[in-house]
Point group: C2
Chain length 355, copies 2
């Protein structure tokens, strides 16, 4: 079913206030969540409220945490999230990166001891909104099996990059796994076999049994999802594997935090790490000309010849921007189960449920 | 057959001197070429001499070109290669990036009007050799078809990243296409059908006929290679497509040069663009601790559980380093046809052929 976007936003803000977050903090967390729903990325939207609820209750998220900058230079910072809510850490860290880009042309912030921060694209787009290139990455609990391996060692390890352009910001946001875990869950619910290249059983063999793979992931019994490029090396799985290592390098190794293979291994500490970067592209030449060059290239991609049966070539971020324009003052879809969960959480926190 | 590495190096240097390059320039170009052979990346090694020969003769490469820095800041530069040999441009640009990283922590150099520069990993590893993180990217002639398209719009658009670690530098170097063109040529020679996900015919349909795809590429008749993730979106082809756009953004849009869809469209000008970055990772914290963290993570990946039938998990750059140790003071393989081509070029330039 669909719920009113404005009401959903207001409801979420009240929930987060009830946990003890300030009004401003609640607005930020809600904004990240709702943006995922506006963009059509339901897996990272209000669907996730119940998981945040559990993380706050189990003290993985510390509502009162204050972040520290533990190391810094004019262009870099290392930030300790001290178990704060990932969205607050992410927003703060990207603000630092943007500030540095504004003053010296580039800012990079590596973050340790954070939590799940929602969609990576939210943060890269913060930089694009200030007319900078923005990059955001995050590691996660290990779910991705390295090429020739049988044990998940890296996370979904998303990379997001946004660059201002007209009429629509280029906004790339993708896991370095072939698919996110949510896709496996959809196949499992529908009792459909997985495509050959997506997943591996506990012996590292390609596996099309979605329920078995998910069960192994939950019980850390081995196997998991293949990197972008799929199982083996025939379709470049070693490339996706390398990209996932690069994400852990920027997020966890630079910050001295936990690499994916250690994330979520302790009851009260996820240890998720992020990386943020902002670049003032005016440092390379005339800003207007560069932005126009990007817009022209993207338009040429959209205008290039379509495959048989296709009417449109998208550039990254275009589809999401169109969906947001529709949904922002209208409604967002939510499934019945999520709505039930929201009702229960509201009851537990004494917040009026009016969706 | 195999040829002596030291002799091959000396022969190549003499060839480049005969074109009019200085001794030092000839050494640099040769070093990039031979490194590809030492690493087992034959497609980018001396096999390519004949192509460089043609590019120099047709004035796509200007032997006497001097590069200009056309825009700069303490952390950035925009460099015009003025049609110089790609290896010379690449080495010079990465040196500028490294210098900036040494003085302010980070250097980024975007380059226009260059030529084919060999393996991208050569340049990222230059930074790693100075104990920095190095990144190198390049666009190429369009060969990659965007998701839902039928016309090649981006190049093989490689991304390389190197980070110092012990006992072996992490060195990622990969095209953002599912495979390079050379792989299609091998299938064509052997009359083998291509895997389903690799290529598209001129109508944008998946195509397993290697010879037909290559013919279409040569005649710019439509179709081409799929981005990493393959044809369509099922296995994440839109992710590889996005990565290839990002490479063109850093290389061509930032420098005001030609995006892949314009590269190699004029007889005397390839217009290839590159991007280089060096990061002093000591700007994030204690350098020894960060390097040790990277080494530990890579070792954990190598030590993680192997898939059934596999005895080893590699980290990126490991296999190449081992091969180089073997070949550096020994021999490199070269096929008969390449050897014949080298003999012909030597004859044309009046250089003694003694391999």
């Amino acid at each position: 079913m669909d719920i009113d976007t404005v009401k959903a936003r207001s409801f979420c803000e009240k929930l987060f206030q009830a946990y003890g977050f300030t009004d401003e903090e609640s607005k930020i967390i809600t904004d990240v969540l709702i943006k995922a729903d506006l963009y059509g990325i339901e897996s990272h939207g209000i669907h996730r409220l119940v998981r945040y609820h559990d993380e706050i209750k189990s003290c993985q998220v510390d509502v009162n945490a204050k972040m520290d900058i533990v190391h810094g230079s004019p262009i870099t910072a290392c930030l300790d999230g001290n178990k704060a809510m990932g969205q607050l850490v992410g927003r703060q860290a990207m603000k630092v990166a943007i500030q540095k880009a504004g003053s010296v042309g580039c800012g990079m912030v590596s973050v340790r001891n954070s939590n799940h921060f929602g969609i990576a694209g939210y943060y890269s787009e913060m930089a694009a909104a200030e007319d900078f290139i923005g990059i955001a990455m995050t590691n996660t609990e290990a779910i991705c099996v390295p090429t020739f391996g049988s044990e998940a060692m890296t996370g979904t390890n998303a990379i997001a990059l946004a660059m201002p352009a007209d009429p629509c910001t280029f906004s790339y946001d993708a896991a370095t796994t072939v698919v996110p875990r949510g896709k496996l869950e959809v196949y499992s619910k529908n009792n459909k076999p997985l495509p050959d290249l997506w997943a591996l059983d506990k012996n590292g063999r390609p596996c099309t049994d979605a329920a078995a793979v998910i069960n192994n992931i939950i019980h850390k019994a081995g196997g998991g999802i293949a990197p972008l490029g799929g199982t083996g090396i025939l379709h470049g799985g070693h490339k996706g594997y390398g990209l996932s290592v690069i994400v852990d390098m920027f997020c966890a190794v630079m910050s001295g935090g936990l690499t994916s293979n250690y994330v979520n291994r302790q009851p009260e500490h996820t240890g998720i790490c992020h990386f943020f970067m902002a670049i003032d592209y005016g440092a390379f030449g005339d800003k207007t000309a560069i932005r126009a060059g990007m817009s022209k290239f993207l338009q040429e991609l959209r205008d290039s010849k379509k495959a048989e049966g296709q009417s449109r070539i998208y550039t990254h971020g275009e589809r999401e921007a169109e969906l947001m324009a529709q949904r922002e003052k209208g409604q967002i879809p939510v499934n019945e189960k999520t709505l039930e969960e929201m009702k229960d959480i509201a009851g537990e926190l004494g917040v009026e449920f009016n969706l």
